[in-house]
């Protein structure tokens, strides 16, 4: 499946679902600041990579996929949960980009301007995350081809 943008997904999201994510994001960012103030930047920094809105996003994905199936007269519970699992797989790959972002900021920030470091770290996150995803897709494609090639002789034998 090719990567594409489906803007109709924005219409399926209710206003309160946006509000929940805004609230979660705001609360986690504020708490991260308070933790850093109380326990120092070494502890507070850990929370910069806290899965802040992951539970809310996974729940929404499950709900939307389930609703999609229910509109076709199917149950959709299993499908919704699998979709949330697939989203988690994507997040695990994105964590590689998050790690590179953190390492770049850590190493470059002391001697350079903040905006310059941002300009390097943010695209690095995008490039690394997408590269890990692309490599993983390639591996899955090769595995599919390998499995298909293995099944042909068996079919011929029958």
């Amino acid at each position: 499946m090719k990567v594409h943008a489906d803007f109709s997904a924005l219409r399926r999201t209710k206003w309160y679902e946006y509000a929940i994510r805004f609230l979660f994001g705001g609360i986690v960012t504020a708490i991260t600041g308070l933790i850093a103030k109380k326990f120092g930047p070494e502890v507070g920094g850990l929370f910069l990579a806290f899965p802040a809105i992951f539970p809310a996003t996974a729940t929404l994905i499950e709900k939307h996929e389930k609703q999609k199936k229910q509109r076709k007269g199917l149950n959709g519970t299993k499908r919704g949960r699998l979709a949330a699992g697939v989203d988690a797989a994507g997040a695990a790959m994105g964590a590689g980009g998050l790690l590179v972002f953190a390492l770049i900021v850590w190493k470059l920030l002391p001697g350079r301007s903040g905006s310059m470091v941002w300009a390097a770290a943010t695209p690095a996150w995008v490039v690394v995350a997408i590269s890990i995803w692309a490599a993983q897709e390639k591996i899955r494609e090769l595995q599919r081809k390998h499995a298909a090639a293995k099944s042909i002789p068996r079919l011929q034998l029958r």
Binding site: P41, G85, D87, A92, P110, E137
Partner: protein, 112 residues
């Protein structure tokens, strides 16, 4: 006042990345935005402004540990969701202690 500003900026940045995650297909690709440095983008700028670059760099160093913990957390959520298919809310919240254990384990072993 600073906390309120932090909360508003954090809410906006996190929501923006969540929107990108909603829009993109397939879901495996959209999931990348679940690990966007949204809280970091909101927090580090404010940390530089109020405490200086060295302070923010120290936060980023610990963030690297947090990112490894995020990978472990998301991987565990993925495996459990795919294998046992529990509710997404239950699974993602029940796995938060895995993030905490990994992050603080790394902090004790590497970052302290």
């Amino acid at each position: 006042m600073e906390i309120l500003l932090r909360a508003v900026i954090g809410g906006v940045v996190v929501s923006a990345f969540a929107l990108l995650g909603d829009v993109f297909q397939p879901k495996r690709f959209a999931g990348l935005f679940g690990a966007a440095p949204s809280v970091a983008l909101a927090s580090l700028g404010l940390a530089i402004a109020s405490n200086g670059k060295l302070y923010a760099a120290l936060e980023a160093r610990s963030m690297a540990g947090g990112a490894i913990a995020f990978f472990v957390y998301a991987y565990c959520v993925c495996v459990v969701m795919m294998k046992y298919k529990p509710s997404a809310m239950l699974c993602s919240l029940a796995m938060i202690p895995i993030w905490c254990a990994t992050a603080f384990g790394l902090w004790i072993l590497w970052l302290r």
